[in-house]
Assembly symmetry: C3
Homo-oligomer: 351 residues x 3
């Protein structure tokens, strides 16, 4: 598919400058540029790179005076670019239909225009909303509710009684609703606690690949709408995640902890049990939070144990000063000794 600059601008309902017939063969990222392709730039630095590259044209937020290539102007260049990605490289659509090898249990309610792929499993008493896509080899256990237009990728396992609101995406290999890690140690043996609770996931949540969300002993593990979870994340039993959170890879949240809305957890963050994180908190990569802590609204924390950013940086900086401090101490000890000797001598002289 080849489009002209003016055709693309029209699709975006955007202003453009330069030859309207400029041919665009595709889109490319700034670090793998092909000529006759379109790139986007959302910073001064990217703009410079873009104009210096062999790209055919650039999407950016404001026309520069010295533009040396055709440009398309958009308030959000990346989102405009994303829109064009779907034009040039449309997703592989799964047509509605239940594959004859899919296993559908008893008392299952299927919505309109559902796709269920080969060997997928939907066990008894599930409700599947309209336009849901369940890929080959997904397993949905009993009594689950899958909302409208959800997409469940291969090798996902959803344990019984899980509920997904609409437009939830779950990537391959992820497990939702497995038993929480709960035992009671009595007379030398760890006794398993039953997990009869459920997992409830809000609308527009996306969960990456090979992640795990455990279900609660009783009550719910909850993930608020709009939250995005990366690959290889661990959400333990009874955790409550707020809305529009970002949770990066290798982050683990232990039992009964909660986050507010718009919380950002960078990679490999460790949150112990019964922690409460208020709205708009950000935790830097590898931050560690001890049990029962409360992290205050809007603050950025770093380090292990977690400290507000300024304190954490001061602490980090301090620790790099230790070698200098050791030199200072050593030098001062010499000076002290010298003084002590002088005074001893003076005292002797005076006497």
């Amino acid at each position: 598919m080849i489009y002209s600059l003016s055709q693309l601008a029209e699709m975006l309902d955007a202003e453009f400058h330069g030859n309207p017939d400029t041919k665009i063969l595709g889109l490319c990222p700034l670090d793998e540029v092909s000529s006759d392709f379109l790139v986007f730039a959302d910073s001064a630095e990217h703009m410079k790179t873009a104009f210096a590259s062999s790209a055919a044209a650039v999407i950016l937020s404001k026309k520069p005076d010295d533009a040396t290539k055709p440009v398309i102007i958009s308030e959000y260049p990346l989102m405009a670019f994303a829109q064009l990605i779907s034009v040039f490289y449309p997703d592989i659509e799964k047509a509605p239909g239940i594959h004859p090898t899919a296993y559908i249990g008893a008392h299952v309610k299927l919505g309109q225009n559902v796709h269920i792929g080969p060997y997928a499993i939907v066990e008894d008493h599930c409700e599947i909303g309209d336009k849901v896509v369940i890929h080959a080899h997904a397993v949905i256990r009993e009594h689950c509710q899958i909302g409208e237009a959800c997409e469940i990728h291969p090798h996902v396992t959803i344990y019984p009684r899980t509920s997904l609101d609409k437009k939830v995406i779950i990537h391959a290999g992820t497990t939702i609703g497995s038993d929480g890690f709960g035992y009671r140690f009595i007379h030398g043996v760890h006794h398993k606690l039953p997990h009869a609770g459920s997992v409830v996931i809000g609308a527009n949540v996306e969960i990456g690949a090979n992640t795990v969300v455990d279900r609660a002993t009783l009550g719910t593990t909850r993930i608020g709408q709009g939250t995005k979870i990366d690959n290889l994340v661990q959400i333990a039993h009874s955790v409550k995640i707020g809305e529009h959170n970002i949770i990066c890879a290798f982050t683990g949240i232990a039992g009964s902890s909660s986050t507010g809305n718009n919380v950002v957890l960078a990679a490999n963050v460790g949150i112990s049990d019964h922690v409460r994180i208020e709205d708009q908190v950000t935790l830097g990569a590898r931050t560690g939070v001890a049990p029962k802590k409360v992290l205050k609204k809007g603050i950025t924390y770093l380090g292990n144990p977690a400290r507000p950013k300024e304190k954490a940086l001061e602490h980090e900086l301090s620790s790099t000063r230790i070698p200098y401090m050791r030199k200072h101490i050593s030098k001062m000890q010499e000076r002290l000794l010298e003084l002590e000797q002088k005074i001893a001598q003076m005292t002797a002289e005076i006497e």
Copy 2:
């Protein structure tokens, strides 16, 4: 299902106080209380919360003098509560039977009352014990032994020659017996070592979701009876885990390391290769252990590198004192300078 207080107490063979006809509609956790539901309390704090809540009744270990609600008395309130969870919210039982789409290889021995779900795979020469449940989409490769009453969840892969003792539970997406990460670097290329060993898992072990246990080059990777392993854990080739261990999420144990009995590894612990951990050791979250270390019986270690708890806390505390130390040093430098000047002046005066 609705039960009366006296009916529940009878099931538990437990003492109760208050109206025997109190209706109990279900169970709930203390942070999501519903009226007409039963809660449990195993600390003074929980007891206070429980009595202040709208719950219908409380299970606790000792009748308080000022009980304001009906109570059931049990030595282990949580375990009694767990027993009632199974009454109110029984597990979804999988009836014995081999689903017609399950693939059973040649020379497989199946015990009595086995459940094998749709599309599950049991390859050649496996032995499956009585009352085993193999869920849809589990894959069990050749020459495996699955002991009595084990439960294998969907999307588990068990590589050849793995042996599970009785009542082992393996959650969805977990891989048992994959090749260890072993190569030899010769002439610029990493040469793969074959992995012909096996994994042997003891009775009553439970392994969470999306965890990996590798098999050995030769010999065995072994997990002792009663040990409980969380989600997203990595157990490398030839590791020997003792009995009744607790191993939390994101913990990794490298090749040929071993733990004794009753060891606790909190989350995100990293144990290098050839480490020996003796009985009853506890490692706090994020503890790191260098290769070939020996951790001594009964001691709690923290930090990276791992230090006995007291030293680790002292070290941690010390490092928070650095800013103060810097101030002290700075102040002392001023005082020294002042003294040096005074003495120089005195010396001059004396002369």
Copy 3:
């Protein structure tokens, strides 16, 4: 299978000493020795252990003068041992053939002598090379290319447009080509970026179990030939991994970072986005690298933040000195006070 010492030496084309008829029943590791079995030793310490054990014979690189057991001499004892592992414990071979329950989509090109197991899925427009083994329950989405003699284990998911060169091994539960974790936050909502890029994996790459490699928004996520990746690793979108890297468990590499050739990343290393790691760099366990850093060729880094090894060790050592420094400071304060008092007294006396 029983072999004599001389038969084994002949297979290896290697020199041997001792009774040529010595019966060898199998191979064993040095920490689980059985009599009548063969062991290998590649260090002075292992040699001592081997000769003191009940093993029947030893493979080593040089005949010791005081050998007390039959020996086989090989330049690379471990590799010779590995060769014999394949003799005594041959892999379970999967015979060529497409299982009748395998799902093969439209326009799929299958090479010669391919094995596709029960319930495996190969979707439309894939190309599968000669001698490829696709185990039961692997899912390969549309437009993938799987090179000659690749082995794809159960429950692997390969997303559309992924390309594997020859002899790639992917272990169970691993996900290749899932959408990168990319959103743009506009007006309170995280907008998903489409991921239309691909993953390209070089020859002889091996990827462990339950690992994830994301595909790029555009362009490629690339893994160079000969690189070996452990279990539970996260490779984010647009990452470029060089050739012959070693990447251990729980290591995460964020978007658009790159490594050169022969890079070693020990366990639980965290690499932020847009990092550039040059050839032959080694990162120790738990090293953390901040965004946009460049790590220089051939250097070993440790710690978080990553520092060249010498500096990191100095820093680590320094921090263990803090308690001593505190004592020194305290002692110096006393001495200073004493001096100040003496001088005050002397000044008074002089006046």
